[in-house]
C-alpha cells in the first residue's frame, strides 16, 4: 500500500486514468475488437477504484488492478449478454487473456495499434480524431462535441457507429506494413493534428476544456513520436504543435485583446518549447523524407527567427508555402501563401494571389480569407472594398476578441478616409 489518504488515493486514480486509460482500452479491445465493451468494463473498474482506493489504499500496481477488475466485469457482461456459440468464443478469448503473462510483466503498449484502427480508411474521416480522443484519452462525447461544434447527441451517435464499424467490419488492430504505412500514418497524424487544432482555436485559451484538447494533442503527438521515433512526419507534427503552443501566452495582451503574430511580445514566447521543436525538426530532416508537417513546422520555425534576427524571413516562408501547395494544397495553404507573397513582394502581388482563389465556393464562409483580403485591400488604399471584406470577416468570426480586433481595424479605415 502506498497511501491511505483519500485525496492521494483519488489523485492516484486520476493519474492512472490519464496514463493508463488508452493502454487499457487498447489491450482489452485488441483481440475482441469490442471497443465499446472495453470502455464500459473500464468505466466500472475506475468507479470501483474511486470507491475502494481511498478506503483500502492505492494498490502497488494500479494498472494491473484496473485491468483485473475490468476483465472480471467483462466476463460478467458477456455471460449476461450472450449464450451459445458466440459466448463460448468470447469467454475462451477472455480466459486466454486472463492467463496471459500480464500478471508479472508490464502491460504491452497497444495504443499505436488502437490509433491505427481509429484512423482506418473504413472509418469516416470526420470521426477519426473524436474516436482517438475518446478511446485513447477517455474524453466523453459531450466534451468532444463542444470542441468540434456538433451536438452531443450527434457526436455520441457518430462515435457509437464508428465503434460498431470497427467490430462489425473487422478492422484490424495493427500497425500497417511498410508499403502502406505512409498513407495510414498520415491519417493518424491528421487526427491528432485535428484534435490539437480544435484546442488551439480556442482563441482566448480561457476555456479549459479546449486548452486541454491542445495539450492532449501534444501528448498524443509525443506518444506517436516516441513509439515511432524514425518517422520524420511524426517528429514534424510534434515540432509543429510545440512551435504553436510556445506562442500561446503571447496571443492575447493583458486586457484580453487579440495580438497578431507579427506584433507578439517575444518575451512571452516559450523558448524552451521552441528549442525542443527545432531539435525535433532537425532530427526529422536527417531522415531525408520531406512531408506536410515538416514543411508546416519549418514555416513556424521561420516565424520564430524573429527572436534571433529581429525580423521575419518572409522569402523563406513564401518558398515553404510554394512547396506545401504542391504536396498538400488546400485553401488554407493558398491563403497563407498569398499573405507571405504580400510580405515578400508587396500587397498587390499578395492580392492577385488571393484573387486566383476567388471561385472556390468554400471560401465564402471562410473567415481567414476575408480577413487576409481586407488587410491587403487596406494596405492598397482600397478603402471601400476593404471595409466590405472586414465586414465579411467580422460576420464570420466566432471569437469576440478577434471580432473586436477586426472591428478596430475597420474603424481605422474610415478614420483614415476622413483625414
Amino acid at each position: 500500500m502506498i497511501s491511505e489518504r483519500p485525496d492521494i488515493a483519488r489523485a492516484a486514480a486520476e493519474a492512472a486514468a490519464r496514463q493508463s486509460y488508452g493502454k487499457l482500452v487498447a489491450f482489452l479491445a485488441a483481440r475482441t475488437r469490442d471497443v465499446a465493451g472495453a470502455e464500459d468494463a473500464l468505466a466500472d473498474a475506475f468507479a470501483a477504484a474511486l470507491e475502494r482506493w481511498p478506503k483500502a489504499g492505492v494498490p502497488r500496481r494500479p494498472e494491473a488492478w484496473l485491468l483485473a477488475v475490468a476483465r472480471r466485469r467483462r466476463v460478467d457482461a458477456v455471460r449476461r449478454r450472450l449464450t451459445g456459440e458466440a459466448a463460448r468464443d468470447d469467454l475462451r478469448l477472455i480466459a486466454e487473456e486472463m492467463e496471459a503473462r500480464m500478471t508479472d510483466e508490464d502491460l504491452p503498449d497497444e495504443r499505436l495499434r488502437l490509433m491505427f484502427a481509429c484512423a482506418h480508411p473504413a472509418i469516416e474521416a470526420g470521426v477519426r480524431a473524436p474516436l482517438i480522443l475518446q478511446t485513447i484519452l477517455g474524453f466523453d462525447a459531450a466534451t468532444i462535441a463542444s470542441a468540434f461544434l456538433v451536438s452531443p447527441a450527434t457526436m455520441g451517435q457518430r462515435l457509437v457507429r464508428a465503434k460498431n464499424r470497427i467490430r462489425e467490419t473487422g478492422i484490424p488492430f495493427r500497425v500497417p506494413e511498410r508499403t502502406e504505412l505512409g498513407e495510414r500514418l498520415d491519417a493518424v497524424l491528421e487526427a491528432i493534428y485535428t484534435a490539437f487544432a480544435e484546442g488551439w482555436s480556442d482563441p482566448a485559451g480561457t476555456e479549459t476544456r479546449r486548452r486541454n484538447l491542445a495539450t492532449e494533442g501534444i501528448w498524443l503527438g509525443r506518444l506517436v513520436a516516441s513509439l515511432m521515433p524514425d518517422e520524420p512526419e511524426a517528429l514534424g507534427l510534434l515540432a509543429l504543435m510545440l512551435f504553436a503552443e510556445a506562442r500561446r501566452a503571447a496571443r492575447r495582451n493583458a486586457a484580453g485583446d487579440y495580438v497578431p503574430l507579427a506584433e507578439q511580445e517575444l518575451a512571452l514566447w516559450d523558448h524552451a518549447l521552441i528549442d525542443e521543436a527545432e531539435t525535433l525538426l532537425r532530427r526529422a530532416a536527417t531522415k531525408g523524407v520531406v512531408g506536410r508537417y515538416q514543411l508546416e513546422a519549418a514555416v513556424q520555425s521561420a516565424h520564430t527567427t524573429r527572436r534571433l534576427t529581429g525580423r521575419t524571413d518572409w522569402a523563406a516562408i513564401k518558398q515553404l508555402y510554394d512547396a506545401l501547395s504542391v504536396i498538400a494544397g488546400s485553401p488554407v495553404v493558398s491563403i497563407n501563401r498569398a499573405v507571405a507573397i504580400a510580405e515578400a513582394d508587396g500587397a498587390a502581388a499578395g492580392l492577385s494571389a488571393l484573387d486566383e482563389l476567388g471561385d472556390d465556393k468554400r471560401l465564402h464562409d471562410y473567415q481567414p480569407y476575408w480577413a487576409a483580403r481586407a488587410g491587403l485591400l487596406a494596405r492598397l488604399g482600397k478603402t471601400r472594398e476593404a471595409t466590405e471584406a472586414y465586414d465579411r470577416a467580422i460576420g464570420l468570426e466566432r471569437d469576440p476578441a478577434v471580432r473586436r480586433f477586426l472591428q478596430e481595424r475597420r474603424a481605422g479605415l474610415s478614420r483614415a478616409e476622413k483625414d
Binding site: L149, V150, D391, G395, L396, R398
Partner: protein, 117 residues
Amino acid sequence: MRYMLLIYVNEAAMAAAPTDKTYEISAAYGAYTEALKKSGAWLAGDRLKPTQAATSVRMANGKTNVLDGPYADTKEQLAGFYMIEAEDADAAIAWAARCPGASTGTVEVRPIWEQTM
C-alpha cells in the same frame, strides 16, 4: 433545411452595457447578418424589443387571460432570431457559433418542422 437561431441574452446586463460596447455589438450583428446574406443562408431575422414591451395571452376555461410581460420571467430572455437555410445541423451550429449572441448569451438552434405534402 431551415433552422431557427433563437438568441437569449441577459436583458438587464444588456441594458446596463456602456454605449461603446452596445455600438460594438450592434456593428457585429450587422456584419453577421451581411455574412449570412452573402453566403445565401439568411431567410429572415430581427431584433425584438425588450420584454417590458411583451404581452402574454392565454386562454383557459373559455376565458382569455392577457398579462403584461414575457411567457417566463427569467433572467435570460429571447432577444432576437434568425431563420437560416443550412445543409444540416452541423452547418446550423457553425452559424450559431459565429452569432454575436453566442458570446453574450445563448443561441438555441431549432430545426423548423417542415410540412410534407
